[in-house]
């Protein structure tokens, strides 16, 4: 991955050629390693001034901690000038870096105040730090780019599950919700209608359903079979009231086939009529 931005040109020692005021299209410096047709993608090839500087340093195997600042500055400015000669839009960061390099270069030329130069006093120190920092993340980015990636390198498995039966979970209901809903119904009914909903013994209505339900299976049942003595007096009364109410609502009929025969409770409708 070291060669990512390096064109396959043969290595050459940097030759001190000035390009700045010449015609860059015909007199490209040989150490720029960028063929004219590639200049178009220059800005996309380098991720900014730090990237370009790193390229210049790494390409020549220079020590990043002891960058020959004059030489690197010369090359950097050559690139920048070339871009401008070609009227390519150059990000402001590139020009700013050129200024920084020029400033470092001039400070390097100043006579050193002391003989033992502290590393921190090195005018290049800040630039070197930034270059190193940038290079770390540049490499980290390449590493992330190479990680096995979902749907590019590795793929999810899709296994059919149509044979899997999914039981439905039914909602749970609180009786209070049912009752409060009913309360609303009654309030509405009171407001709009003449509906008289009076107190009824629910056990009677319940028993009405039970009798009807029994008549679903047999078209008729003997009256006395519907009155179970084991329920006690009150149970018998409930059943009796239920049968009377069913008869009143025309849901059953009470018949006697012949005098003194068993009293039958028969459901209304086709089934009942056909009963022998």
């Amino acid at each position: 991955m070291a060669g990512m931005t390096q064109p396959p040109a043969a290595e050459a020692t940097p030759t001190p050629v000035a390009v700045v005021n010449g015609n860059p299209l015909v007199k490209l410096p040989e150490d720029l390693y960028i063929p004219p047709e590639a200049l178009e993608v220059f800005l996309e090839t380098f991720e900014g001034p730090l990237d370009l500087l790193l390229y210049l340093i790494r390409r020549q195997n220079l020590d990043i901690l002891d960058v020959p600042i004059a030489e690197v500055t010369r090359q950097y400015i050559a690139y920048i000038d070339m871009m401008q000669e070609m009227k390519m839009e150059l990000a402001a960061e590139y020009l700013l870096m050129a200024a920084i390099l020029a400033e470092i270069k001039s400070r390097m030329l100043l006579p050193k105040p002391e003989i033992t130069v502290d590393q921190e006093d090195d005018p290049r120190a800040e630039l070197v730090r930034r270059l190193q920092e940038y290079e770390r993340f540049k490499n980290a980015a390449q590493c992330i780019d190479q990680l096995p990636r979902w749907e590019r390198d590795v793929f999810g498995v899709t296994v059919d599950v149509s044979r899997i039966e999914i039981p439905r979970i039914l909602p749970t209901v609180d009786l209070k919700d049912v009752l409060s809903a009913f309360q609303d119904v009654l309030k509405r009914a009171e407001q709009v209608t003449h509906h008289q909903i009076q107190r009824e013994q629910l056990s009677v209505r319940e028993r009405m359903s039970a009798v009807l339900s029994r008549l679903m299976h047999a078209a008729s049942v003997e009256f006395r079979q519907l009155l179970d003595g084991r329920e006690g007096r009150q149970g018998v009364i409930v059943s009796f009231l239920a049968i009377l109410e069913l008869a009143r609502e025309n849901l059953v009929e009470i018949v006697q086939e012949e005098p003194l025969a068993e009293l039958l409770v028969r459901r209304r409708g086709e089934g009942g009529v056909q009963f022998p």
Partner: protein, 193 residues
């Protein structure tokens, strides 16, 4: 990396069944295996997966890996949705059936003042909270609905009498707990029907 492994990888990755022809297209023209070779690979894979949780299943549009039905009790939980909530209309309908049974849909609608959807009736029948106990002898012979023993069981009631009496309507709060505690003296209808 042999042919069988490539076929296996593709069948696992594919979101749809793959035919022998589809599998052939995974390869460049000059490297495409013969259809027989692919069929052989499929046959071998089918055998390999015979007693596995996942099986290779031929369907109309090709081959696909499938999770065996036997794993439904566990695997189904991955796909179970949170149960929906029932509508107020359903509660109202259920309450009217409980208090006014046996009752037809038309009668419920008359009390509610709005239509009762088939959906609600179906849900109540599916939950086995109501059942059809007969038909009214009217045009269309409408079904008569009543609550079931399952309804009583679900709501922890011994008999309908344990529901609050209609008299107490109009109060702001239902005295539900009080009513439920008041064990009814009316015998349960268990012996009937």
């Amino acid at each position: 990396m042999n042919l069988k492994e490539i076929v296996e990888a593709a069948l696992f990755a594919s979101p749809r069944p793959l035919t022998v022809e589809d599998l052939g297209h995974l390869f460049d023209d000059n490297e495409r295996p013969a259809a027989e070779a692919l069929s052989t690979a499929l046959a071998e894979l089918t055998r390999d997966y015979e007693n596995r949780p996942v099986q290779l299943q031929p369907v109309a549009s090709g081959y696909r890996f499938q999770v065996r039905a036997a794993f439904s009790p566990w695997v189904s939980r991955l796909f179970q949705e949170k149960p929906a909530r029932y509508s107020r209309a359903l509660f109202e309908t259920l309450a009217i059936i409980a208090y006014r049974q046996p009752v037809t849909r038309g009668e419920i609608e008359e009390i509610r003042g709005v239509t009762v959807t088939s959906n609600i009736i179906r849900t109540l029948l599916e939950r086995d909270w109501v059942s059809v106990v007969g038909h009214r002898e009217l045009p269309g012979r409408p079904a008569l609905y009543a609550t079931t023993r399952e309804f009583l069981n679900y709501f922890n009631l011994q008999s309908l009498d344990q529901l609050p009496p209609l008299m107490t309507f109009g109060q702001d709060e239902w005295p539900v707990s009080a009513t439920l505690a008041d064990a009814s003296t009316v015998p349960s209808p268990e012996d009937v029907g």
